[in-house]
């Protein structure tokens, strides 16, 4: 089963941070305050889009073919995604401050 990474607090809807990391081998735990990287803050669909985009060497034409959408539609999807990445980055810098 694919488990989605929760990004927002179910109680107050604020952004979540990482408090604990664990080694899958020896189960050593590291506690601290770690912000999620901007890409991890995006939805799974957005992350999948970015992975495909990189795999296709950043070609919107190839993306358009594989997704079955027209070129301007894919370009608009990318523009919307760019905005969300910028927002995620801004969110990170706000959390750090």
């Amino acid at each position: 089963m694919n488990r989605n990474l929760p990004l927002h607090c179910p109680s107050c809807s604020q952004s979540l941070i990482v408090r604990t990391l664990q080694c899958v081998n020896c189960e050593t735990m590291v506690n601290g305050h770690f912000d999620l990287p901007p890409l991890a803050r995006l939805s799974l669909d957005d992350q999948q889009f970015i992975i495909e985009f990189v795999k296709k060497s950043g070609s919107l034409k190839e993306m358009s073919k594989s997704l079955g959408f027209s070129y301007p539609t894919v370009r608009n999807m990318l523009n919307d995604l760019i905005e969300r990445v910028i927002n995620a980055e801004n969110q990170n810098s706000t959390t750090n401050n």
Binding site: L67, G68, F69, S70, Y71, P72, T73, R75, N76, N79
Partner: protein
């Protein structure tokens, strides 16, 4: 993702744009002009059409080209002003050509004589123009049906044109609505001015047609 039928009908530009859209759009525009030639239906405006006088085929083709290009041009300028992102002219030209596809229905509405008869009847009764003609109830019912179909076709086409603009230029919300409305008014003015200046002999004077036919 499975393509939705409603998206294909009202916003096919999600799936098709650029050169393929331009080729398909032009093919349909030519078919519309040829059908218009046989039914004397002039698409002499960005969103308008009229049943008029016979004319050579090239006039119908130019009418279609001017109607398509004038709106593409004004939307291109509007997009450049309003859109925050860059876009390709070919996407706008292609999707605007395809957006005119519903107009293929209109020339077929010009075939029944009832439409012309009621128009001549109304012109004579209301403005005293032309000669007196009689229109039957069937003529009037057919005429009303033609008008309803034409209105629906034009609404469908406007929705397509708007979606073409939104997809090609990446504009949304109020900005998209206002800029599209202004662009369509400007394009209609440009097209009307062109038609009245270049084709005035045909539109205003039946005798002038001889000039074009020779």
């Amino acid at each position: 993702m499975k393509p939705k039928i409603s998206t294909w009908i009202f916003n096919p530009f999600v799936y098709i744009a650029g050169w393929p859209s331009l080729a398909l759009g032009w093919a349909i525009m030519i078919a519309t002009a040829v059908t218009g030639y046989f039914s004397n239906t002039h698409l002499d405006g960005v969103i308008g059409a009229g049943f008029g006088l016979p004319a050579p085929l090239w006039i119908y083709l130019i009418e279609a080209a001017v109607a398509w290009f004038s709106l593409s041009l004004t939307l291109f300028v509007a997009g450049r002003i309003v859109s925050k992102t860059s876009f390709r002219l070919i996407d706008l030209l292609g999707t605007q050509a395809l957006a005119r596809a519903p107009m293929l229905i209109v020339p077929f509405l010009g075939f029944p004589e009832a439409g012309r008869r009621v128009t001549r009847y109304l012109l004579y009764r209301t403005l005293g123009l032309g000669e007196e003609v009689t229109a039957t109830y069937i003529d009037i019912v057919l005429f009303i049906l033609i008008i309803i179909i034409m209105v629906l076709v034009v609404i469908w086409m406007i929705v397509l044109m708007y979606n073409s603009y939104k997809v090609s230029c990446n504009v949304k919300g109020t900005k998209a609505g206002v800029s599209f409305t202004l662009a369509i008014i400007l394009a209609q003015t440009i097209a009307s001015a062109f038609f009245m200046l270049v084709f005035k002999d045909i539109y205003l004077n039946p005798e002038g047609l001889k000039y074009f036919l020779n």
